[in-house]
Amino acid sequence: MAKEFELNEVEVWDGNYAASQALRQAQIDVVAAYPITPSTPIVEGYGAYVANGYVDGEFVMVESEHAAMSGCVGAAAAGGRVATATSSQGFALMTEVLYQASGMRLPIVLTVVNRALASPLNVRGDHSDMYLGRDSGWIQIDAFNAQEAYDLPLCAFRIGEHLDVRLPVMVHQDGFTTSHKAQNVYPLKDDVAYKFVGDYVPVDEMLDFTRPVTHGAQTEEDWHYEHKAKQHKAIMDSKTVIDEVFEDFKKLTGREYKRVETYMMEDAEVALVLLGSSVETAVLAAKQLREEEGIKVGVVAPRCFRPFPYDLVREALDVPTLKAVCCLDKSSPGGAMGALFNEVSAAAYTTSSRPMITNYIYGLGGRDFAMDEAKRIMKEQKAHADAGHITTNIQQFSGLRGPKLGFYETRRS
């Protein structure tokens, strides 16, 4: 029996340590992992729990991230709770197995500390890895700070392991900005946290020898399509379970999570939509701009990147006063609009007010996104609103040195 870890009512933890504590409290059966900056401390933290008797499960240190996810898939098929952590290049290396894990309907939890993808090599935080996972069939939940980096993995086990879902879940946090920044975190006691997560219920497990199972079969054009459609339905329908789990978590802790977080949207004329640690920057900037210049700014932050909450994003943007929205993508889109711009535009197209929508690429490779820049972008949206049309290119780059970059123009005037 694992030892109880004595915790204070409030601890000072960074996002990495917060995530590792959540993994410990979930009493995982197998963690197969490979360290990579900036998520290494999650694995190291877990290793310390193993070394000191706080974990009953197995800790398998494999030789690569591909093997980490492969080991997780094998372990999950053997009928127990499984999790791991990674970032960036490690995430890219395990991408093949991410698709296999979701296709095999194995509820693994992956804590991702978001980091840029090379080249050029860069260890700082952006959302390139998170975006790389967006078609992988995993549920993707985003933590904006250390408290959320602790809370959301606990929710993730409940969501992924729910018998109506049975899908793997990623919990993202921003590299360094969240992962290495110590903040006050209110943890649950070990028994309370485990009770919330609950016992693992095996499904089609390989260690029940009374009922042999074949995992990872082949299907060609005869059945592949039906399997993928069923998998898509499972992730689209998971929103109900996500809402239920967030509701239960609120009852337990008082901390409320929604698939889309909204701030000051009730009367907003302009809005920013963004993800991750920048949400807190944007919210503060919006508050100040409301006070300083009376510009009615709101912020919309999808908590769930997959399944993408089209319903709630549309609801958030279906505000009669809303005229201009800017979607900020922290990933180089490689010849397209940012992914958030595309998703939000799709959601907003069927609103009655149909606001103008623009796109900023920002923060690549850990480039700082500060209050002044947030305010500047907000004021630019106000200029669009006042003019009645988009006065700049639709896609621009924020905080970039050298000549200004802009792409694509509106036909509305």
Partner: protein
């Protein structure tokens, strides 16, 4: 330990049939013989992993399966990791008391072809061996990427023609020698490593049983004659394998704890390698006068290797 006794081939071949005869492997493929021998040499429960390859695509095409046991396939390279992940889960759940039948004896086995073992899955295999999991990895070595139509692998012997190392007017086929996977695995310090062949079914079954009984990571390279890509008549699989073992192209031996080498089969009459090469289409071009030196080199390599194996056996180090 639930080890099946070995009486005669007929009885043994049907003693514990957990691999269905209805599968899609080519007629004459040695894979199913080897797999069936593994599954029949023990009564223990089995958790089997397969890399992508001939065996995998021929035995688990939805909605059918040939496996009457726990079986998993993830990708081309990671059966060793899948099975050792399951082995770790077994340990954890046994400790925590969450297994349905905690006393049920279970063995963990991974299968890969030479493509996934020698090449694309080499890292995953090496990692799993180094971590010391209690499992057995069996390579079904048919010396080419047979599942994708017969391309070279690092197990393809020098002189064989494959679609990506072809014999032609300017080429005698593959230029490079076969990778010595058995030595590499022994160098991992694995407690049991062997090279076995299905024509010597008793030594193969005993080797499998030894690997399953041995705690820790074990590796076995098995010769799996490939009627399609080696180009011989499907009825001649065992005959070709006889030629392979009796010409010492495939010596049968084991290495215990990384150093103690035992030769498990000594042909009474050692055949010339021409007898083995001449029976297969993939070596036909070597019999042209300009390629004679390749046959000479193969024979010389075989002689040197056999000398080395015998000396290592005598030395007991």
């Amino acid at each position: 330990m639930a080890i099946t006794s070995i009486k005669n081939l007929k009885e043994f071949s049907t003693s514990n049939d957990r691999f269905e005869g209805a599968h899609l492997l080519c007629p004459g493929c040695a894979h199913s013989m080897i797999v069936r021998e593994l599954m029949n040499c023990t009564d223990d429960n089995l958790v089997i992993g397969s890399n992508t390859g001939c065996l995998e695509v021929s035995t688990a095409v939805y909605p059918y399966t040939s496996w009457d046991t726990s079986w998993i396939h993830i990708g081309f390279e990671n059966a060793a990791t899948a099975v050792t992940g399951a082995e770790a889960m077994h340990k954890a759940r046994k400790r925590k008391g969450t297994l349905k039948d905690p006393d049920a004896p279970v063995k963990f086995v991974a299968f890969g072809g030479d493509g996934s073992t020698f090449d694309i899955g080499f890292q995953w295999l090496s990692g799993a061996m180094e971590r010391g999991h209690d499992f057995t990895y069996i390579c079904l070595d048919n010396e080419n990427y047979a599942n994708t139509g017969g391309q070279r692998s690092s197990a393809t012997p020098i002189g064989a023609t494959t679609s990506t190392a072809q014999a032609g007017t300017h080429s005698y086929g593959k230029k490079e020698k076969k990778k010595d996977i058995v030595s590499i695995m022994a160098a991992h310090g694995a407690p049991y490593v062997a090279q076995l062949a299905p024509n010597k079914w008793k030594s193969m079954a005993k080797g499998f049983q030894k690997a399953l009984e041995t705690e820790g990571p074990c590796f076995i390279n098995t010769v799996s004659a490939c009627t399609t890509e080696w180009k011989f008549d499907p009825k001649d699989t065992i005959h070709i394998t006889d030629l392979a073992t009796d010409s010492l192209m495939f010596p049968i031996y084991e290495i215990i704890d990384g150093h103690e080498l035992n030769i498990l089969y000594r042909p009474k009459n050692v055949l010339k390698v021409e007898d083995y090469l001449g029976a297969q289409g993939r070596y036909r071009h070597l019999f042209k006068p300009e390629n004679k030196h390749v046959i000479e080199q193969i024979q010389s390599d075989i002689d040197k290797n056999w000398e080395m194996l015998q000396r290592r056996e005598e030395a007991r180090i």
